[in-house]
């Protein structure tokens, strides 16, 4: 070790000693999850990511052995930072102190703070390492939740469409780890309204998932039995599960693949079930996979009018509450098989994906003009080529994908750390209107990566170590019609965010986001003219640490929606109090929120704390107040319990919700109980 390095280290170690005592990672994970949730406004399951992060927190990575793929799990690191980390370690030898991370080129003070909870430095002969290498851990968790008020679906007579099951939701999860290389997961779930017990098949729960995952064999680097996920390239062709979209994290636009992964989420539609393995030979990796499972679909069975049965639509909600939903449950089947071959060199990674998706019936395309180019048929073959390459301070990535006998899609991007304070991202995409993939998670502004082209440019500027500005603009076109858009259209999005870390534990940030898209005018015509739809969000966040036990979090958000003569305004203000005393058995948090939104289009999404591993991002809509309380109590060393209660009180109206979810009255309340038993 050079003298200069020793000196620097000494200074760093002295000045950062205090940083070790308490680290708050949660606000960051929350911000990150929130930025994803805003872009996919459907119900996404974040439990897998949060479970993974908590697991890493408990079993931190050793700075001297952590590899590229493990670093990818730390979602706040961008590809240039990861390369920079690996280069540093290669050039300077093993890490001696954690604070040495400060010396890495592209690591900011904040990066290091985020990283600290997830890493450590193993000292030779350290007892814990040896122990954890061959040790079983079990975790069993049960979550029970329900809405207290009766919803219409449970009250209407059995003669009309109604919810056949009881109004509670029950989730059982079992996780098993043997050292770091073997893991198993079983998930059993029954959603609210789904039948539970003997009357249904499969017996008991509505959804079962199980997986067994083995890592680090000599040639077989990964082996998955049961349910698994596949994430390759830029998500244009083969990517299942969670993915990040456009958000305040500019570097997040470049997807970091994790290849074959075990599946443990409660999402009932987006997974593979079967066998998959990653076989490594020198710099090459081969990942063959095969998956077969039933899928929910609305099937038109063969009769005198149609010769053969057809799938009119696939359902992705995973809800099986009414007679129709139960009829559609598992009505079709999906077979997926294929392989990925990948080369990984020092700076270059590139791969080829080929796979086929088969349904047991033909998929019908929709009858409207806008879905004229939708996929029709029962078999789809996808092929794709991707690469990413690091050269000095530049990271370039691309994927070209083809759905055989139909269209092409392209992604190409460049990310550069122009100086230690400025980084920029350029990202171009072009998805043909007849490009299809059933496992497509590429960055898009529409509903999936098809029928779209666009150019995105983003900039992050660290004005001072405490002040950061992020800014991006995106211009996009949709060459074919879309739902409620009767002509080719275009739009743009802009986001600007400034954040200040005022002092330790206090952070202020302001964010402006503006989106303009074209949509049909309000007329009741066969074909409509397009009018621009403007949506502007202004958000102010304030986070402060009162003392060792209390933290305050505030937000004010205003949304402005304007479409021709229809203009709406939405307002959300909330106050969170987080109580987390060191070493206490009890911790918790609560929120009081006031919201005043003119109508549906001016609704505001906001992140909510929940029981462990659960995250929710409800939309605040209409006018009223919301309160929730969330507590955790440590019953014993191995048993933890969580409780959440939430109530929303509306200031006007006769009822809440619509359809079978309708509740009479002006308030809605829910509670959730969760118990975890862990055995180490």
């Amino acid at each position: 070790m050079s003298f200069k390095r020793q000196l620097l280290l000494l200074v760093l170690v002295i000045s950062f000693q205090s940083g070790f005592t308490q680290t708050e990672t949660d606000p960051f994970i929350e911000t990150l999850l929130e930025s994803i949730a805003e872009n996919n406004q459907s119900e996404t399951d974040y439990s897998e990511l949060s479970e993974r992060l908590y697991f890493i927190k408990q079993h931190p990575y050793d700075l001297n052995t952590v590899n590229l793929e493990q670093l990818t799990d730390l979602v706040f690191l961008n590809p240039l930072q990861i390369t920079s980390f690996l280069d540093y370690r290669r050039d300077n030898g093993p890490f001696v102190e954690i604070q040495e991370l400060q010396l890495i080129d592209l690591f900011t003070e904040e990066t290091v703070q985020y990283m600290i909870p997830f890493i450590m430095i193993a000292k030779p002969g350290m007892l814990e390492i040896k122990k954890s290498q061959a040790k079983s851990t079990h975790e069993l968790m049960t979550t029970y939740s329900r809405t207290i008020e009766k919803q219409k679906g449970y009250l209407v007579p059995d003669t009309v469409s109604h919810y056949t099951g009881s109004p509670f939701k029950l989730l059982n999860r079992y996780r098993y780890h043997y050292g770091k290389n073997v893991s198993g997961a079983v998930t059993m779930e029954k959603d609210a309204g789904e039948p539970f017990g003997a009357s249904t098949k499969p017996y008991g729960f509505d959804f079962y998932s199980a997986s067994l995952f083995i890592r680090n064999g000599r040639y077989v680097k990964k082996l998955a039995l049961g349910d698994y996920s596949l994430q390759f390239g830029q998500g244009l062709s083969l990517w299942s599960g969670l993915s990040f979209g456009k958000g305040a994290n500019i570097a997040g636009i470049a997807k970091l693949q994790s290849g074959l992964k075990p599946y443990s989420s409660t999402n009932e539609t987006e997974f593979f079930r079967g066998v998959a393995a990653t076989i490594a030979i020198k710099h090459f990796e081969l990942t063959p996979f095969i998956s077969y499972h039933a899928v929910d679909a609305s099937v038109n069975t063969a009769d005198t009018l149609i010769n053969e049965s057809q799938i009119s639509s696939l359902s992705i909600t995973g809800l099986h509450r009414t007679a129709t939903e139960l009829d559609n449950k598992g009505a079709a089947s999906q077979l997926v098989f294929g392989s990925v071959i990948q080369y990984s060199g020092k700076a270059l990674r590139s791969g080829v994906i080929v796979y086929q998706t088969r349904y047991n019936y033909n998929l019908e395309s929709g009858q409207s003009l806008y879905n004229k180019f939708e996929f029709a048929g029962s078999t789809l073959t996808n092929s794709s080529v991707y690469y990413n390459y690091t050269w000095n301070n530049l990271y370039s990535f691309a994927e070209v994908s083809h759905s055989v006998n139909s269209g092409f899609a392209l992604i190409s991007g460049l990310m550069g750390s122009l100086s230690n304070k400025v980084s920029a991202v350029l990202f171009y995409r072009n998805y043909q209107k007849n490009y299809y993939s059933f496992f497509n998670k590429a960055i898009n502004e529409g509903s999936n990566a098809s029928n779209e082209s666009g150019f995105y440019s983003g900039l992050t500027v660290a004005l001072t170590p405490k002040t950061e500005i992020s800014f991006y603009t995106d211009f996009f076109r949709f060459p074919w019609l879309r739902y409620r858009v009767d002509a080719p259209s275009s739009g743009r999005e802009l986001l600007a965010q400034a954040s200040w870390s005022l002092k330790k534990g206090t952070k202020l940030s302001f964010r402006y986001k503006s989106n303009v898209k074209e949509q049909n005018d309000a007329g009741e015509n066969t074909i409509n003219y397009l009018v621009p739809v403007h949506k502007d969000n202004y958000r102010l966040d304030f986070l402060t640490k009162l003392n060792a036990n209390f933290q305050f979090r505030n937000r004010v958000e205003v949304v402005q929606y304007k479409k021709a003569l229809n203009s709406q305004l939405g307002l959300l203000i909330y106050q969170d109090v987080l109580y987390k005393p060191m070493g206490s058995k009890l911790s918790g948090n609560f929120r009081v929120a006031f919201f005043h939104c003119d109508a549906y289009d001016s609704r505001i999404y906001a992140f909510e704390n929940d029981v462990l591993y659960s995250y929710s991002i409800p939309a605040y809509q209409d006018k009223g107040y919301r309160f929730y309380l969330n507590t955790r109590y440590r019953l014993s060393r191995s048993i933890d319990a969580w409780f959440k209660y939430a109530i929303t009180q509306y200031s006007s109206g006769e009822d809440i919700g619509s359809g079978l979810d309708l509740i009479e009255g002006r308030h809605k309340s829910d509670f959730k109980i969760q118990v975890r038993y862990s055995l180490k």
Binding site: G416, L418, A424, F455, S457, L459, T473, F475, S514, V516
Partner: protein, 265 residues
């Protein structure tokens, strides 16, 4: 179809206002010239001229709408003399049947390399085939403040007296004020911003970035929010000669390519 859109665009008053073109470098940086200093400051914020030490001449050609003969041609010259710089500019916009010309004379002064101030006088001329021509005058004033080697803050007002052609002519002279900053993060990275407020339209926020891979070669990019435009470009310097290219993209008008040449004496 293309001609139809050109007619539509030309008949829209706001867009028809003469666009002052400030060379390919400033264009590529999102037209954020208010706090930049170079020869093309004579067409953006004349105060920037006062930082020059040598005479420079430059020309620029902008194909305003691809596929039409509508273009913008400019020629500028700056001559520093002691703490003062004199600037001349000439710009012609339009096509054979429609021409808008602007002749400018700028005077800029440098106060200790910290404060830069300028005044600019323009003569505008509009000629339409078959209808004749008309002319008018306007003024501009600019300031730049350079508190450190890496930071410049600029402000600029254009045509504050709101002078215009005589009432019979359906063409306007833009009236606007802009303020902005540029910051040199390292010898490779220059970031600039500008906020432009015009009498007719709401504020337009612009930002631009210049990245010098090597001292001779730079890549640039920028965006403006109202109208929403994206810009990109490059610059290459050999000895006394500097070549800059730029491409801007407008959601309705499409791409506009531009090239500029500058020679330093």
């Amino acid at each position: 179809m293309l001609w139809l859109s050109v007619i539509v665009i030309l008949s829209t008053k706001g867009l028809f206002a003469q666009n002052i073109n400030a060379g390919a470098r400033i264009t590529a940086m999102g037209q954020t010239g208010v706090a930049l200093q170079e020869v093309w400051s004579v067409q953006s914020n004349q105060a920037g001229l006062a930082s020059l030490h040598k005479p420079i001449a430059a020309i620029s050609y902008l194909n305003t709408i691809v596929g039409t003969e509508i273009n913008t041609q400019s020629i500028v010259f700056a001559y520093p003399y002691g703490h003062q710089t004199f600037g001349w500019s000439m710009q012609s916009f339009g096509f054979s049947a429609f021409k808008e010309r602007r002749y400018g004379f700028a005077y800029a002064r440098n106060f200790n390399d910290v404060l830069f101030a300028s005044l600019n006088f323009n003569y505008h001329q509009l000629s339409i085939a078959g209808y004749g021509h008309t002319g008018t005058y306007s003024v501009e004033a600019g300031l730049q403040y350079k508190p450190s080697e890496s930071l410049i803050i600029g402000a600029h007002v254009v045509n504050p007296s709101a002078s215009s052609y005589d009432a019979a002519v359906d063409a306007i002279l833009p009236v606007f004020a802009e303020a902005g900053s540029s910051y040199l993060f390292s010898d490779k990275v220059l970031l600039s911003t500008a906020l432009v407020v015009s009498s007719k339209r709401i504020a337009d926020f612009r930002t631009g970035l210049e990245y010098s891979v090597i001292p001779q070669l730079a890549f640039r990019g920028g965006v403006s929010t109202h109208p929403f435009k994206q810009y990109a470009g490059f610059g290459y310097a050999i000895d006394h000669l500097c070549i800059d290219g730029a491409l801007s993209s407008h959601p309705a008008l499409g791409y506009s390519p531009q090239i500029s040449l500058a020679y330093e004496f």
